[in-house]
Subunit: 621 residues, 2 copies
Amino acid sequence: MEFRIARIDLREWKAREEKIPESLLRKYLGGRGLGAYLALKEIPPKIDPLSPENKIYILTGPLTGTGAFQSGRYHVVGKSPLTGILGDSNSGGQFGPWLRFSGYDGLVIEGASDEPVWISIVDGEIEFHPAKRLWGKGVIHTERVIRAEMKTPSEYVGSVLAIGPAGENLSKIAAIMNDRYRAAGRTGLAAVLGAKKLKAIFVKGSRKVEIADMKKFLEESKKLTKKIMEHPISEALGKYGTAVLVNIINSHGAFPTKNWTRGTFEKAFEISGEYLAEKYLVTNKGCWGCAIRCARVSKVDTGPYRTPVSEGPEYETIWAFGANTLIGNLEALIKINYLANDLGFDTISLGNTMSTLMELYEKAKKGELPEEKAKELMELLGDIEPTWGNAEAFIQAVWRTAYRHGIGDIMAEGAARLAEYFGSPDSAIHVKGLELPAYDPRGINSMALAYATANRGGCHLRSYAVSFDVLGAPKKYDPLAIDMEKVELVKYQQDYFSVIDSLVVCKFNTFATDHTDYVGVLQAVTGWEDLTADELLEIGERIYNVERLFAVREGHGYKDYLPKRLLETPLPDGPAAGKTAKEALEAYLPKYYELRGWEDGKPKPETLKRLGLDEFLYIVS
Amino acid sequence: MEFRIARIDLREWKAREEKIPESLLRKYLGGRGLGAYLALKEIPPKIDPLSPENKIYILTGPLTGTGAFQSGRYHVVGKSPLTGILGDSNSGGQFGPWLRFSGYDGLVIEGASDEPVWISIVDGEIEFHPAKRLWGKGVIHTERVIRAEMKTPSEYVGSVLAIGPAGENLSKIAAIMNDRYRAAGRTGLAAVLGAKKLKAIFVKGSRKVEIADMKKFLEESKKLTKKIMEHPISEALGKYGTAVLVNIINSHGAFPTKNWTRGTFEKAFEISGEYLAEKYLVTNKGCWGCAIRCARVSKVDTGPYRTPVSEGPEYETIWAFGANTLIGNLEALIKINYLANDLGFDTISLGNTMSTLMELYEKAKKGELPEEKAKELMELLGDIEPTWGNAEAFIQAVWRTAYRHGIGDIMAEGAARLAEYFGSPDSAIHVKGLELPAYDPRGINSMALAYATANRGGCHLRSYAVSFDVLGAPKKYDPLAIDMEKVELVKYQQDYFSVIDSLVVCKFNTFATDHTDYVGVLQAVTGWEDLTADELLEIGERIYNVERLFAVREGHGYKDYLPKRLLETPLPDGPAAGKTAKEALEAYLPKYYELRGWEDGKPKPETLKRLGLDEFLYIVS
């Protein structure tokens, strides 16, 4: 199997091609795994993530663009300015396949340009273009200008990855956007591109992705497609999009509301996927190579929240912008989502930052912030009044955050730093600097372990324990019961999801699949006929350990914990009333470390040896 | 009389002191006159206004900071990026006097800095400070940070001049702000500071302003103060601020409405000075050395337009943001004014640009724009829908214009270029590129001549013919009647106002005064005991000719005209229904040229000789 990367030197505006040895691919596959390995090898320890020494890896995997079901994604890796440890994020749309078609399986972005630049890659030809006139511009405008320049108007031919003003202005909650509305959002890697002054990448080409055994591939691929498409969760995702979760999670009392002080939102239905489908949906949309079509295309025709036809909002966005800020107006959420996409934000982080601001504002009004800090907060707010549920204040705050105006200068640093700055660190609900997503672990207790041990900080996509605690896949557990089987499932998901992110395919298939389902198709594509299911899962475990090693080497981010509020303050409402996440975390974590072969969050030397990671023993010894 | 300027070389971060010869002061006084002369001598012809070759003159005059009534202002001069001819603007507040107290009577800003910089001038000491952390920030925040750094918290001690994001981003309608809410707004000179990367200037000091004959000064000054304070217009300005004009001008049918398509606004009362005083006024405020206190301090306590205690809005702003866009909600206008100040815009230009956008949008919807242009307009608008009266769209547009996002990138160029870009040039109501202020010359016909012949483009502050056509000062005329006496008054005001702007004092005294009133106080301050009233008025005429010579040398901007709509489309409503400005302009202009000694907008050689401008004969020969 061949894997070609282009190393792009932004300082010199030069690129060179490099082949990744097949032996390395067999250990890390591609995507997230390969990125983690390369980052640990190549990014020097303890550098400033916004310095030219940081690198951004934009990687596909062996399945990307093959036509295997849901193979339309790509993965980004680099040192995160938000968390200070390894950051990574995954995105769908069209970019991943078109990157491969352009001639490269991955890009390594190095150094920093003196002036704004964008890159085109067409059939192996890499060109650098001055981007001064695109600097400061939104993602939508940027894509339009670049597509005009490249004479490629159809959104299904070629693809544009871009950062918005948020990334340019080094917001630590900025998202790398592609195809206008798709985001590699988490961990703020767009700020790294901003610091490197890389505005956008256009990819197009007609390279055929290599498949070792086409006959076998078609057979295996067909099986896989059938299995995924026939699963009821796939059907629900197609019908109502990810926002189908609003009513489900709310009914479990695990829908974080008012900045994580409640577990249910009385207006949940009005911001649900069902309501969206009824009122604002234009059509469904799918990523490249996917027939589920869980993406929403929506619009608001008129009124203060008028929004043109555009994609989203997703479940996480609806929650973060809505329930957690008490904004129960879906029209407002659609508009804020549009602005957040165009300005280039991670919506989970931005929503949490806004709800944190609302809490800080309330505390300031009640005299619960240090006096000097309360005064400064009021000054920086200027004309905005971030009361709970105030959509106008949120819209204003989005602009300020993108351009670092007034309070936006501190909001651009994310929820943790915002809360810290104003002397109320516990007002930010995050793990390791990454703001938490839309599941309260007090109501879904496996998420306590999932959040605490997620390598990139508080995240639902390392283990999506919601799958078994709520949705019953592969099997239903009681989300409030302590059950040690769930620890095994969390670890399993973390390892399996590492494989998924490295293949690269969509995680939404994991309701229907396990790792054994991918052996055949991967054999067919790579020609690795002796690949076993155990080997595949071990690759996942290896990746998970490599990511953890990055944190150990940095000297922080390997201690697994949950925010104080989730451990100490019981939920006041809903089915999980009275619960905290403390009991679960304390029960699960020791067992988890045992399963992992870790001690206090650090891999033991024998674990590294078992996984063939001897070269990194120096980090733990 | 001594006049010390600091030449500030931004490229080298160096300054040197220079004395202006007294003979030159006797010809141009200071402020606007001295600036016009220096600009014509020093700024090379036909340069790009945003190039380092342009210069910005920030000048006081002999009366600034003396304690003479209304001597709290300063004047800025430079080549305008908006009009391409000489630009200048005047501002009150505290900056002018504190500049003099700091040790300098004027500053000449030259070259361009490589990185953002701000300057402090304290008791003659000029220091350069990196301004990277202030770049992108609002005017209010900038002042707060600089005052903290300079340990000068009181707003009445020292003063900060700053540009906002609009100026940084080279918006041609950006204003130079001082004391947070005061603007040297017209002709976009903030963009020149933005291009030079000069974010702000702090001034403070204890230099005493020289007064040659203090006894005489006190006597003359007292007479002048009494005369101004006792005038009924002064009283009205104190009571209701400049917005006292809303009802007056509206009742004359000369209140431009819906982008200059009507002369009356049905919601005029709801946006009037009287209504402001009743509902939103916190207190009145005056510039340094003025007891009229026509400035408003206002706030909106709650709701979507909540605005903290801040200054304004003035009459022009209320009109441009309100009647001309059909926004009849004063709360919205207060908020937009706050944002415009903080982001650093000329509110007259910004309001006209917004109303032009609304007209273009309406035309696009009706199919009255070229098809491609209509499509591009819709794309650039994104989620905003600039329907008439849509305050939310305006708020969104202000942010976009400041940071050149989407449609804002073109709005930042001003109304004329916006309308031109979308193929409908007559949708922008401007003269020589400068958007017109709040008086429709179809209803106040002397303004036809005043606008057409104003040296900086369409402006009410070269001749304020409203004074005699509407307010009866010095004597009431019929605003709709052709009367050749009014030509003499327009020319007189242009010359007298040139003196006022060069002394530098406030134009609001000219309802009560004429040029003879300033002879005594100027003699006392300067020691020019032989100064006569005729000489003073001749200085004004000289200045007016020097400004015009700048346009002649540039090869454009000396042809005097009015926008097509005002000449050809009769007002449909109000007392001036059926009127255009054509008849008046055609009647007045020949007589005006005769009085001026000009031909086709160019000074004749004999006129230059008469005014002692022989050195500039080369321009007209």
